[in-house]
Symmetry: C2
Subunit: 227 residues, 2 copies
């Protein structure tokens, strides 16, 4: 049995399958969790509504949505309406990559963690499924953690913060199995890059394909509602 | 004579004396500069107006103001009206320190740098005058640069980005002398934490005291208008 961790943790919540599992893992480890989401002009607005509902259901100690203006910067299909969301497997770094997104998200999480004197930040990045995103790799996370401990008052005063990435080496099927074992209700999560206003998934984008395959491989009935 | 640098650079501009000098240095080195400011709910709103004017005067290639919501996070006298701006020398990390502020600012700069394929990010941090701020120290900057090159598409593809801190080891007097030699008009900058609506400085806060002493030590007439 894993050692029970004490103290606060900031958990990044997108409303998707991964971050929801991440929250369940953090709570299971014993952390008092707060949830943090970002309104970054994402096309898939339904995710944000899902994130808030999931946070409330999990009874987090606090929940915030921070507006993050990445549209002015541009450069991604997820925030720039001039770039199309692809419906086929992409090669190299996908066009859905948002420049420095995880760096910006983790920076805000770090600010909140410092105010709360939190011990950990949980982020549901995954190096297997999203190997095309540079800011989902373990060496990025390690470098961020190193920087974070030099950036902050708590770091200077000897209280280090840990960036926890419990999903980083798991397949989608393993993530789903883990979440099911912790009682996660995946019908409340949404992963589609272009879900409709009622939260129904397209079933065709990168994110939908990965999720669908995950449920198949996990041998779990896919609770996703498709268009 | 310094080697002329080519390519683009993102320069963080606060409207203060340091960042304005930083922009002049970056342009003098040959970079094609863009200016980036943050509206983070700072009490000293006049700085933001000064930043835009300085950017236009310096004829930057582009200029953006990104809204950054740090008020929700709290924890600093600069963004939280419940904490008073001190008028005497502070010991340790000052209450004007905003948790993870430079990490958040540099993260956005990194995103824009990646979209622009910029070669450098300039930030006017200074380790001498602001030794109390953990995110103004050279080892933080080095750790951020290391992280930045793992976070981004350009880093992965072998084009590294440099975080330039030309003021980091300079005294305020040395910064002023450098700026004067590059033709900087300091009457257009504002550094006061609590300037009035007309941009007049209080003359008493930490930032005012450092600036005043800098002009005295540089032997340059202080062009600041005080209340």
């Amino acid at each position: 049995m894993a050692k029970i961790k004490t103290g606060k943790a900031v958990v990044l919540l997108s409303g998707g399958l991964d971050s929801c599992t991440c929250l369940a893992i953090a709570q299971d480890q014993g952390y008092e969790c707060v949830g943090l989401s970002f309104d970054y002009g994402q096309r898939h607005r339904v995710e944000l509504e899902a994130a808030e509902k999931l946070a409330r259901t999990a009874k987090v100690a606090d929940y915030k949505v921070i507006p993050v203006d990445m549209r002015g910067i541009g450069g991604s299909a997820l925030t720039d309406s001039a770039i199309e969301v692809p419906e086929q497997e992409s090669v190299g770094i996908p066009v859905t990559y948002v420049p420095a997104r995880n760096t910006v998200f983790l920076a805000y999480a770090l600010g909140w963690a410092e105010v709360l004197k939190a011990r950990a930040i949980f982020i549901g990045v995954n190096a297997l499924d999203y190997s095309g995103y540079p800011d989902c790799r373990p060496d990025f996370i390690e470098a961020f953690q190193n920087m974070a401990n030099l950036a902050t008052k708590m770091g200077v005063e000897g209280d280090s913060i840990i960036i926890e990435t419990p999903l980083i080496d798991l397949t989608k099927a393993e993530i789903i199995r883990k979440g099911i074992s912790l009682g996660v209700d995946y019908s409340k999560t949404t992963s589609c890059y272009q879900a409709d206003a009622r939260g129904r998934a397209c079933g065709r984008c990168d994110s939908c394909r990965l999720r669908k395959k995950g449920f198949e491989e996990a041998g779990v009935v896919d609770p996703t509602v498709y268009i």
